[in-house]
Symmetry: C2
Subunit: 256 residues, 2 copies
């Protein structure tokens, strides 16, 4: 019996999503909990997006086998019990539709990148935001962001370790919004290259502090060269907010 | 030279505000940093509100002596440097007006209490929210909250350790708002009794889960007996958001 799981986690305590050796990863914690429900047998899960170390998720989605005879509440509560005390929770569980795959069936992925834009270092949101102590020009960043929208070869914003076959991606939203002392960057696409969001944010930061005119973002994109774009923004500001499927998988009040 | 400091801290790592023995408290960390700037001499600060262990602050305000010849940026940056790596930061500093006192000059205090109202335990906001896994009726909670507004004897919502001379307080706002999977309780008054916000929230939770009709909140208030009200909500959901003074102390963009 295959289930779709809506997962939330604080990336700070994990070496990313993917199981690797004896490291504490989200996948390792989830699979260990699943194994407990399968009489100790090893269990493998697949996931919508393999987040890097330090990246958070409010809406990660995974596919996992569970024993017969459990209802949605039992699946959720049993996994949450066995994943204690790690900072990962199953918010909701639904039976997986036939042929559904969390990665390949995804219609859209929604990321939020949070920048704390003030002199004082973060105290309340340490590990959740990228601290940029110099003033950033949000309007200029938004102007640069708009130049990345649409279907492009995103080689300039792609990690060298990226395993995607093609660097062509369609970016549907990249908005830069001031929220008090924070700047929020909203990124939406069907899929992203490895580090694409963090590389776009690291580049927009150069626009924000005046090092680059906004137009240079277009030049960086058309160069198709990683060295032409800005540095990779730190993992801690990034959160996978939501993965959308058609039809929607989880009812919005699924948590209750 | 006396300065007003706007402080932010994550209460999880501290045994509250107040200095006590060798415990890690916010006051102890701040006073140790101030002492470094006073050639190691002991320094004492006063504060707007002595928060309990686990309670967070985004807008705490303190009064502290600093050596002559520093400007606002130097005060903020030097204190933040010396308070590393503790989860407390000076967001801004301004010279204290003559005769000003962070506690007695306060015109209004603003608290936010966050409840995570879903079955799954918190992962991303662990230590920041009170996890209530049973569904709560926000409209009933709001109806109960409205019965506490105005000037009353709040003995029923007062900690036994409370040192206030009078139990009379004027509650100006107590709003219960759903925010996705969370319920936010906004509380505003010139001042509060010890544990007053947490005791009001613990009582409203009984209304929310149907244990109490909203009208029983009024009965609890008029009983003037701590045993007549509900239990104390946990510290971790509470945050001191802001303390207001006339005229306002800190410019809103003070952080930059």
């Amino acid at each position: 019996m295959l289930w779709a799981l809506w997962l939330e986690y604080d990336g700070a305590g994990f070496h990313g999503w993917q199981r690797q050796g004896g490291q504490l990863t989200v996948q390792a914690v989830l699979e260990a909990a699943l194994s407990r429900l399968h009489a100790g047998r090893p269990v493998a899960v697949t996931v919508a997006g393999r987040t890097d170390a330090g990246v958070h998720a409010a809406g990660q989605v995974a596919l996992a086998p569970l024993p017969e005879g459990l209802d949605a509440r039992r699946v959720r509560d049993a996994l949450n019990f066995h994943m204690k005390p790690h900072a990962v929770a199953v918010v909701a569980a639904v039976p997986a539709p036939a042929g559904w795959n969390p990665r390949f069936s995804a219609r859209q992925r929604f990321y939020l990148y949070r920048i704390l834009n003030r002199r004082a270092r973060p105290a309340l949101d340490l590990g959740r935001v990228w601290h940029v102590p110099v003033p950033l020009d949000v309007a200029a960043m938004q102007e640069g962001a708009a130049l990345l929208l649409g279907r492009h070869d995103f080689t300039s914003f792609r990690a060298s370790a990226c395993q995607a076959k093609s660097p062509m991606k369609t970016l549907d939203r990249l908005d830069v919004v001031r929220a008090g002392e924070e700047i929020h960057v909203y990124a939406e696409a069907r899929s992203f290259l490895h580090h694409q969001v963090r590389n776009m944010v690291g580049t927009l930061r150069l626009v924000g502090d005046g090092s680059w005119p906004p137009s240079r973002v277009a030049a960086a994109l058309s160069a198709r060269d990683r060295a032409a774009a800005g540095p990779t923004a730190p993992a801690e500001g990034l959160c996978l907010r939501h993965v959308a499927y058609d039809p929607p998988l989880f009812p919005s009040a699924a948590g209750l």
